[in-house]
């Protein structure tokens, strides 16, 4: 014991030598550790969070967050109850927010009907946004919300794609949320069966393709014959077609599991697509002709007649083609347990929780934990949170906030009361991160280089001024003195500024920001001093906004 202590002292001492240069400190202070945990596991500290972590301890906080079911969240749950669409099924949403053609009763809807229907349908998005912000701002289960956000982005779909406007709410509720800290294979399976993903990546109509069926087996697929004699459009082309669609199969491997350049080939894409033919969505049917139980409408449906029955070799494994839906399940099994998947998921998680370019040694350890635990997300996160890198000064505040992270942390730290979630959605849209509207399947980037540019930083400063100034345009109301009585306007500008440094940044302020802002206190524009009246009066909201807009608040 004594020896170890001695070694540690010597080690500490030897590490001190290069510290003669202005190097980073060797360890974080306790306050910094608390902040690091809160900035990574939550959408940013709100008043009281730091005291809570200090009270129960960092480890207990991490464990609590890893087990959200142990955290009382009744306040948030009650607020969510006021959002009616959140608990509706896709078909209920469709019926409550029908498309224009339904309202036009068989006629072609006129432009006014289309506009009215689209505006009405937009309420689904508004309520979804409201629910997300309610959870981000109010839920005590912050890590769960961080992970729901992470996985939704990983398995991105967009409200704008065809019927996804009705599918996206149950997608987040039923396919993403329950598995956010669970088993990756369960999550992957729920997504693969979700109407939202099948619609978004076009698997819904992907079917056995004549190109991949030997001529002597064509009679197994009578529906192909039927396609041959169908009505033609004005320019002499058939109006419908059937066959393979590679979109989902490719992104399933490239973006959801293995990652790009992990060794799969174009042939693998085709074979996986063939295995997933028939993974589709139950339609509404036709009353009297083809009645469908309303509970089944817009749910997953395996369409046997669209499924390719031929044998295939997928990622080196042979399938005889007789398994039907189970063949797709077996492909998901193969993908989920592939080491490339572990590495890809570990890299993305480390990027979210450590830094933009996570050290390979850490990624390897985390990937190993993913594999060893059978793709257990909670265990994988544990490997990150208890790594030495997690509390290393090298990665302290290593992340620049995305627009959503900036917005969320600003609203949380000021204890803002949101009055208009649509305005928040509009601002995020201008900042380049509209919620539930990311078009490409890659989702939004999670690295600073993608997000940092002059207009992005300007937008953040402007938002801070609107928010803290309680301007009419602000989407929320802020009561600064409720956070800290010292944050009120008055004649001692330095005291107010120091109060903000503490309240908004927990005292972690760079020398330059301090220098610039303290120097501004002499500016009549901020001191509001006039020549014949030397009495200075500083407006707290203005000073606070400059702190929220500072470089220091852009990192987490």
């Amino acid at each position: 014991m004594r020896n170890i202590f001695l070694i540690l002292i010597t080690l500490g001492f030897s590490l001190c030598i290069p510290a003669l240069a202005p190097a980073a400190p060797q360890t974080l202070t306790y306050t910094q550790k608390v902040l690091q945990v809160l900035n990574r596991l939550s959408f940013g500290p709100e008043p009281g969070d730091i005291a809570h972590v200090r009270h129960i301890g960092i480890k207990a906080y991490i464990e609590e967050q890893l087990h959200p079911e142990t955290i009382d969240d009744s306040r948030c749950d009650n607020d969510l109850k006021t959002i009616p669409t959140l608990s509706m099924t896709a078909y209920q949403l469709y019926q409550a927010y029908p498309p224009a053609k339904a309202a036009a009763l068989g006629e072609k809807p006129n432009p006014d009907q289309v506009k009215a229907a689209n505006q009405h349908i937009r309420e689904i998005l508004d309520q979804l946004t409201q629910a997300k912000l309610t959870r981000i701002l109010e839920s005590q289960r912050q890590l769960q919300e961080v992970m729901v956000d992470f996985w939704f982005n990983h398995f991105n779909v967009t409200f704008q794609k065809n019927r996804d406007k009705w599918f996206i709410t149950p997608y987040e509720q039923d396919a993403i949320r329950p598995y956010a800290l669970g088993k990756f294979r369960d999550l992957l399976g729920a997504v693969a069966h979700s109407p939202a993903m099948l619609e978004y990546l076009d698997n819904v109509n992907s079917s056995v393709d004549a190109r991949y069926v030997p001529a002597d087996e064509m009679d197994e697929y009578p529906q192909m014959e039927k396609m041959m004699d169908q009505p033609m459009s004005a320019d002499g082309k058939p109006k419908k077609s059937m066959g393979l669609n590679e979109n989902y199969a490719r992104e399933l491997m490239e973006l959801h599991t293995l990652g790009v350049d992990s060794g799969y080939t174009q042939d693998d894409v085709i074979q996986v697509a063939r295995a997933l033919t028939g993974w589709s969505i139950q339609g509404q049917g036709k009353p009297g002709q083809n009645d469908v139980d309303p509970d089944q409408v817009f749910q997953f449906k395996f369409r046997e007649r669209m499924h390719d029955l031929g044998p295939a070799t997928i990622l080196g494994q042979a399938f005889d083609g007789s398994q039907g839906e189970a063949e797709g399940e077996a492909v998901l099994d193969l993908l989920a347990k592939n080491p490339a998947t572990a590495h890809f998921i570990a890299t993305k998680l480390c990027r979210r929780f450590i830094c933009d370019d996570p050290p390979p040694a850490l990624v390897n350890r985390v990937a190993q934990r993913f594999l060893d635990s059978g793709g257990d997300i909670r265990e994988t996160l544990r490997a990150i949170f208890y790594s030495k890198e997690f509390m290393s000064p090298t990665y302290y505040r290593a992340k620049v906030k995305t627009p959503l992270e900036f917005m969320a942390s600003a609203l949380r730290v000021t204890n803002a009361h949101v009055t208009d979630t649509q305005k928040i959605a509009q601002i995020l849209n201008l900042m380049g991160e509209p919620l539930y509207l990311c078009e490409p399947p890659t989702g939004y980037p999670d690295d600073a280089k993608a997000w940092v540019n002059s207009s992005a930083l300007l937008d953040r400063m402007n938002f801070s001024l609107i928010l803290l100034g309680n301007k009419p345009r602000s989407p929320a109301r802020v009561n600064l003195t409720q956070i800290d009585p010292s944050l009120s306007s008055g004649d001692d500008g330095k005291k107010i500024l120091r109060g903000f440094f503490q309240a908004l940044l927990d005292g972690q302020v760079s020398a330059n920001t301090q220098k610039v802002l303290f120097s501004k206190l002499d500016d009549p524009e901020i001191s509001h001093a006039v020549l014949d009246d030397r009495q200075k009066s500083f407006e707290a909201s203005q000073l606070g906004a400059l702190v929220l807009g500072s470089p220091d608040f852009q990192r987490r």
């Binding site: 990546l201 076009d202 109509n205 992907s206 079917s207 190109r211 004005a234 320019d235 002499g236 082309k237 058939p238 109006k239 419908k240 077609s241 059937m242 393979l244 669609n245 590679e246 979109n247 490719r250 490239e254 790009v260 350049d261 174009q266 620049v400 201008l430 380049g432 991160e433 078009e439 490409p440 890659t442 980037p445 280089k449 993608a450 997000w451 940092v452 540019n453 002059s454 207009s455 992005a456 930083l457 300007l458 937008d459 400063m461 402007n462 001024l465 609107i466 330059n512 920001t513 220098k515 610039v516 501004k520 500016d523 901020i526 203005q542 906004a545 400059l546 807009g549 500072s550 470089p551």
Partner: protein
């Protein structure tokens, strides 16, 4: 590619101070170009390069259609476009290729020779991943994943443009700075002119500038540096003329607005030399259609926007070269859902800039099974860097391109400027 550095460019800072004074007088935009020309900062003859990225992989075979090719029609029974004399047919370009009818507003430019196409163009890297192929196109180093900066930024750095004094020398109309313009040269990016302003007064603007410029946070300090000055200029631009794209003949919608706002900056003569537009919505795996699907609507918006843009440029049109790019083309064979999947070679459209238009450039590889890349996609016969290389040398006079496209040896010129 280059060693990272940031040089406080004194001359540029001087310019910024100067421009502040000039703008305070508000005379700048009443006397277009006068002050700028007098100061030798920008002149009417400055060449301008505008690039547009069709994100999602646009279907080149349905934009510049090989309508004589029987393989084309056989592979696309529901989404293939008819020949020129049939219902919904293409507009004949040269007897071999036809223009998608949704692009009809570009036909006058073809006829006067200011519009050209390069077919079967793409990357030597065979990836069919959107983001990987986009990275290849934007870094200019296909297959090399370690390149951080974009080739268009390196092109500016490798030319006299790096000494350009306007903070709006290079502008991306985009909420995020696209990879092609990332690098040592400071590029301004914003999604719209209107939002690019400071709320509050000079105090907020000054504090912002000083907090970011003086920050030891290298990433954040670089970008905050010239914001204040570029905002001043943009807001001056916003004070004159109509803010409605449709008043100037642009189509309704976000794409028309992007073109319109870029045109406003160019017409204000504030030193813009490189512009970039990001346009999504080209990934048509389903319901791409022929003249009745999603591609038709997208092309109509694109064609009408380009036509309006050149109309708007007036006598400057010859100085402005506009080029499209996309990460790869799409499968020759349509898929099961009246769409196309990820393919290989695509098409680039070029306008203005003194090119010899009215011609489809590049060598046509053919569409018979043995002529296809990996048995399914249009082959690449022109490396995308070849086109950019010719644009850089002929239009912007950038001849030293070793650092722009390292490892690439330009081939015999396509003849766009012959």
């Amino acid at each position: 590619m280059r060693k990272s550095k940031w040089n406080p460019k004194l001359s540029r800072r001087d310019f910024l101070k100067w421009s502040g004074t000039a703008l305070a007088g508000a005379a700048l935009f009443d006397m277009p170009g006068f002050l700028w020309a007098a100061a030798g900062l920008a002149s009417d003859s400055s060449k301008i390069l505008i690039a547009l990225f069709q994100r999602g992989a646009a279907d080149g075979l349905n934009m510049i259609v090989p309508f004589q090719d029987t393989y084309y029609h056989a592979a696309r029974p529901t989404i293939g476009l008819n020949g020129p004399n049939l219902s919904g047919g293409v507009l004949d370009l040269d007897g071999t290729f036809g223009l998608h009818p949704a692009l009809s507003s570009l036909m006058p430019m073809w006829q006067v020779g200011t519009f050209a196409a390069i077919h079967a163009v793409g990357s030597p890297d065979g990836t069919r991943s959107h983001f990987e192929a986009q990275d290849n196109m934007e870094t200019g180093t296909p297959g090399v994943k370690t390149t951080e900066d974009g080739w268009l930024n390196r092109a500016i750095e490798a030319s006299s443009l790096r000494k350009a004094k306007s903070p709006l020398t290079a502008v991306a109309i985009s909420a995020r700075l696209p990879r092609i313009l990332r690098g040592d040269f400071q590029v301004t990016a914003f999604p719209s002119l209107n939002g690019y302003r400071f709320i509050g007064g000079g105090l907020e603007a000054d504090s912002f500038e000083q907090m970011y410029a003086g920050s030891i946070d290298r990433l954040l300090s670089g970008t905050g540096r010239e914001t204040k000055e570029s905002v001043d200029i943009i807001q001056k631009i916003q004070q004159s003329g109509s803010k409605n794209p449709e008043d100037a003949g642009y189509p309704k919608g976000p794409m028309g607005r992007q073109f319109f706002e870029l045109a406003r900056i160019i017409k204000a003569k504030v030193g813009l030399r490189v512009g970039f537009l990001d346009v999504g919505g080209w990934d048509h795996h389903a319901n791409e259609g022929s003249t009745d699907g999603l591609l038709n609507g997208r092309l109509k918006e694109l064609g009408d926007s380009i036509a309006a843009f050149y109309q708007d440029m007036g006598d400057r049109a010859g100085d402005v070269l506009f080029t499209t790019m996309t990460e790869f083309g799409r499968t020759m064979q349509e898929n099961g859902n009246r769409g196309t999947d990820h393919g290989h070679a695509g098409v680039m459209l070029l306008f203005g800039g003194g090119i010899k238009g009215g011609k489809v450039y590049g060598s046509w590889p053919g569409l018979s099974p043995e002529q296809l890349f990996e048995g399914r996609d249009l082959q690449v016969t022109t490396d995308f860097r070849q086109v950019h290389s010719e644009i850089l040398s002929n239009h912007l006079g950038i001849l030293n391109q070793g650092e722009i496209f390292p490892g690439f040896t330009p081939q015999i010129p396509l003849g766009l400027w012959a």
